[in-house]
């Protein structure tokens, strides 16, 4: 919303030394965000009033040689093509150096002294659209240069000053005005400035007694309409609004139409109260407010005719006239021949206006105000401004009738606030007189009673804005200035933490995964439909009503497929790397927390070993309850059924899986080369020990000994079974370690050479060489007997 400082001064005497930038700063800190200050006069630099003193045709052209009196800027010769140029007129002369936008020229043009047809032209007489003033000087009929008919000015005067554009206009963020319907007009803002700066608001006009009539209105529906007034102005003329009004409207972004449309707009920008002027001759009394009926449409000026069934409408005996609070229809609009005006000034239900505006797809200045909830008493202010303006501008016009139907007057909010409450919330003591002074300036009535203040909010703050003591705290604080409060540290009772201090599992998992060399990534919670075939539970997923794209309407049931896409996106940069994510998944339309990692490289064996190492390090370093790894898993998914481990908790519940990514999943996610191993764990199914579960093991006193062995074994013999067979083979076996394996030359197909190390020791003495050799033989025999393994 645009606010003219010059206009504000009609209602409050702002100190002359208060700069627009200061006003912007103060209003931003105390009330609403001002996004910037505009100076509309700056675009008019170099434009002056010029009086035409002579006009001669240039033979053989449509051009004229014009002499222009530009006062202090001298007599200037201008070559001009406008048809309306004539002796005695005053127009806008652009001096050399000024910037204008001539019709058809495209880019703006800098005015210069030029030769045309052998004649010197020392400036340009301008049309409204060449200097961006079509809102002030609407072009009607044939286009021509601006005729400053109703301007009091002398030749050579700066145009900006003459038309009131030497102003500063504040641009206020509408979003920050949402809860302050009282500020949607200059009077409301003037009141706010009066409170901020301790100034006095000037008296507002009064409409006086208007002659009553009872036939203007029917029974406006109380569910739709809080109050409806109709006022008849007779003996009016539909002319152009005076320059000062057109100028103010233009500065706040409103184009001039005709006097009566301009008047309703002007009163709205002044008071925040919308209204609508009808040609009374076109109406059949009485008017009323009702819901639109089936089949009813509203014909609009642009020729469209939206359905208004069920929307709040203003109607006369014949037809629907307007969508209440949104927009008037084409019928019964004011025209040149209008002699009697029927002015509607009303107050409608905020929610219904918003819904209506949404359904019609029409956002208007009126609907923007009504949907914020305008108090019904605002009409009194608006009407007084209207009557006062008409009296000045069209003294011959008369108010001959007025009718007022009040369904739901806005009730002033009453509340009681304790000074001690204000002190507790603000950390500063405010006396009753200070609070009263601040609130009175804002229109509150205040009555002191001991520590309490009994307050009555003004109607313009009573439509939802002020309702609680906390609202009063805010008023006091913002008028005091938030920057003027000293820091008060919060005082708290030191007590036991609600939960034991420990880093959340999420964080400990992430930090451990980073320690294993993986990079964290974020992916989106929705998944591409094309990836569902490589998930384990593709059915029964949450579906977004309005998804980012139709293919991304499902929320992911697992993390791995999205991670594989990240792997694919990075594979052209590097051959081997690993990524992980910890986040929410939604299998079976339930939210769960999950962890996934994916490693790419060229050797599936070593990738698998590394991924398994990552998983084991999580259990070990995060002190998780033990997990079991079961060989194999079957069914749909991203994993290779021949290279997968199912992770199972002690309870038997499946916690996740670790597997090689199958070829289908690699293709689906765009992984072109290399091998990938991934793992996914349900974080919500991992159990942490309450504290570290480690126990001390005494260090060996006597030296340990041992031996390395290599056996050729069939691939069907798993390490796990060898390990489990050898660990208890003799009481002196302290550990059995994997050293490595070899397949290829010299080893029969379907077999491998498996190397292992056995460590031996006793707690009471050193083992003898003979004892060690005996265990070695036992191991060799055992492997031969159990696994048909041949020592190499």
């Amino acid at each position: 919303m645009k606010v003219s400082i010059e206009w504000l001064r009609d209602y409050v005497d702002l100190p002359p030394d208060l700069t627009p930038e200061r006003i912007m700063h103060d209003l931003t800190l105390s009330t609403v965000e001002v996004e910037g200050v505009e100076y509309p006069g700056r675009a008019l630099a170099g434009l002056v009033v010029g009086a035409v003193t002579a006009v001669e045709p240039v033979p053989g052209t449509h051009l004229h040689r014009v002499m222009v009196d530009a006062g202090a800027q001298g007599q200037r010769q201008v070559v001009c093509g406008a048809a309306n140029v004539h002796v005695g007129m005053r127009s806008v002369l652009a001096l050399p150096g000024a910037t204008i936008a001539p019709k058809g020229a495209g880019a703006p043009l800098k005015v210069d002294v030029v030769e045309m047809r052998g004649l010197r032209s020392e400036g340009v007489l301008c049309a409204a659209d060449e200097v961006g003033l079509e809102a002030v000087f609407p072009v009607s009929g044939e286009r021509g240069i601006i005729d400053l008919v109703d301007v009091v000015a002398s030749p050579g005067d700066d145009l900006a000053g003459v038309i009131g554009f030497d102003d500063a206009v504040l641009e206020i963020d509408n979003k920050s005005l949402t809860n302050r319907p009282d500020l949607w007009g200059h009077v409301g803002l003037a009141r706010e400035f009066a409170a901020i700066y301790g100034l006095v608001l000037k008296p507002q006009p009064q409409s006086g007694n208007l002659p009553e009539r009872t036939d203007l209105l029917g029974s406006p529906d109380a569910a739709l309409c809080n109050r409806f007034t109709a006022t008849v102005f007779e003996n009016v003329e539909v002319t152009t609004a005076p320059l000062w009004m057109r100028s103010r409207l233009a500065r706040v972004g409103q184009r001039s139409i005709d006097l009566w449309v301009d008047l309703t707009n002007y009163v709205m920008f002044a008071t925040g109260q919308p209204s609508h002027a009808y040609d009374q001759a076109e109406l059949s009394f009485p008017l009323t407010v009702r819901s639109g009926r089936a089949g009813e449409v509203l014909e609009l000026l642009d020729g469209s005719a939206p359905d208004v069934n069920g929307l709040p409408c203003i109607a006369d005996g014949t037809d629907v006239l307007a969508a209440a609070g949104v927009m008037g229809g084409a019928r019964s609009g004011v025209s040149d021949t209008t002699r009697t005006i029927y002015l509607e000034m009303a107050s409608f239900d905020a929610t219904l206006v918003r819904r209506s505006s949404q359904r019609l797809g029409l956002r208007t200045e009126a609907s923007a105000r009504f949907e914020k909830a305008v108090d019904s008493q605002r009409i009194d202010l608006g009407l007084a401004h209207m009557v006062d303006l008409v009296r000045t501008i069209q003294p011959q016009a008369r108010v001959t009738g007025h009718q007022d139907v009040v369904n739901k007057p806005t009730q002033r909010t009453s509340l009681t606030v304790d000074l001690s409450f204000i002190e507790a919330r603000l950390g500063k003591r405010f006396g009753a007189s200070a609070v009263t002074r601040a609130l009175t300036a804002l229109g509150f009535d205040c009555r002191e009673a001991g520590d309490s203040l009994h307050l009555t909010a003004p109607t313009w703050r009573s439509t939802g804005d002020i309702s609680l003591p906390a609202d009063i705290v805010e008023e006091v604080a913002r008028l005091h200035g938030y920057d003027n409060f000293a820091f008060v540290p919060p005082r708290i009772d030191l007590q036991r933490l609600p939960r034991a201090r420990r880093l959340p599992l999420d964080r400990r998992l992430r930090e451990q995964l980073v320690a294993t060399g993986l990079q964290e990534v974020f992916t989106y919670p929705w998944t591409d439909e094309a990836l569902l075939p490589i998930t384990m539970a593709p059915d029964d997923l949450f579906e977004l009503s309005a998804p980012p794209s139709p293919a991304q309407r499902f929320l992911r049931p697992e993390l791995v497929p999205g991670l594989l896409e990240v792997v694919a996106r990075n594979q052209h940069l590097e051959e081997a790397f690993g990524v992980f994510e910890v986040g929410a998944i939604f299998p079976g339309r339930r939210e769960a927390r999950s962890l996934a990692a994916a490693l790419i490289g060229d050797d599936p064996q070593s990738l698998f070993a590394r991924a398994k190492g990552v998983l084991e390090s999580l259990v070990r370093n995060l002190h998780l309850h033990p997990i079991q790894l079961r060989v194999g898993r079957h069914g749909q998914g991203w994993y290779d059924e021949h290279a997968v481990l199912t992770v199972v908790a002690a309870s038997g519940e499946e916690v996740g899986l670790l597997g090689r990514v199958n070829a289908r999943a690699r293709r689906a996610t765009g992984i072109k080369r290399g091998d990938v191993v991934a793992l996914e764990l349900r974080v919500d199914r991992l159990r942490e020990y309450a504290t570290r579960e480690n126990r001390y093991t005494p260090l060996p006193i006597y030296p340990e000994t041992g031996f390395d062995l290599t056996f050729v074994l069939a691939d069907s013999v798993l390490w796990q079974s060898v390990y489990e067979a050898l660990s208890p083979v003799d009481p002196t076996v302290r550990a059995v370690h994997w050293l490595g394996e070899y397949r290829g030359k010299g080893i029969e197909t379907g077999h491998r050479a498996l190397s292992l190390r056995v460590t031996l020791g006793r707690s009471d003495r050193t083992l003898t060489a003979e004892e060690a050799e005996s265990v070695r033989q036992t191991v060799i025999n055992r492997v031969r007997a159990d696994f048909a393994g041949v020592q190499r």
């Binding site: 409060f485 008060v488 060399g517 964290e520 009503s545 309005a546 990075n570 929410a584």
Partner: protein, 340 residues
Amino acid sequence: MSESVDTLRERLQTALSAATSGEAVEQIRVDFLGKKGVITALLKSLGTLDPEARRQAGQAINSLKVDAQAAIDERKEALLDAADGVVIDVTMPGASVAVGGLHPITRMMYDLDDAFAALNFEVYQGPEISTEDFEFDHMNFPPDHPARESMDTYWIGNASDNRPTCLRPHLTGGSVRRMLQGPPPYRFVYPGHVYRNETTDARHERAFVQYEALIVDRDVPFTAGKLLIDTILETVFGRPVKTRMRAGFFPFVEPGYEIDMECQVCGGKGCSLCKHVGWLEVMPGGVPHPNVLRAAGVDPDQWTGFYVNVGLDRLVMMRYGIDDVRLFHGGDLRFLRQFR
């Protein structure tokens, strides 16, 4: 006699300089200091001298013997040192260490968690799937508030819950969940992903991360909120950052504030980033609205508080000078690895 000592000294030096192996040095030691060595022989010859000459010569020879042993040892050490030589181009680039990294937003989140842990705040984590009552009703959005109907919440069409269900559009709704878990006072931070249906560009994302801090106690003057704000900004920027609070309206706070920080690009002088005002809007904040506290089962006549909510994406962007918010979910390792 003394001439002999000087000659021997020189001969030893020459021999040691010429020796290039430990064996050669050992041979020199035998030649000079061995049982049949020249210095040993010289000592034996002392007996033929008169007492005064013997004393002088003895001193000279003994000194030679000590020096000879030292020179031989030093030469042996020098030869061992020389044998250890390798060639390294010390200007070559350092080898990359294969460590992983946290996402820059996670890193920032944990830095903030640590800072708030020092103020005895707990870390709360709520669900990402939420319902209209938590996201809007409890947040004091009136039944007809436009935000409810706005298209930027990701509503879920097939939720089994009979309440309208969505991906959470903000974190604030979750604070009520935490408060419902137990009685006040509360001091917790609440980080997490939130989702909005927006058209994406360099400044807009559909998934982003917010960080919220809430304190609820008997007396919490609004200036105490500055403590939360300063804790966040100092942690992020590593130095005190000038801030200001101004009136702002949000349904879930009363009073509500917009919190601005001094533009870190121009230092408050005004630049294009801050639209020449010297301040940047960084977070909303305020006192939890009595209706929000009531929804959480907390008596607003007894308890009050302060809350702030900051967009971590934007802070991380400001902190590192990142110019495109979409990079955070892009999964590009070249980007993510810059923040280790």
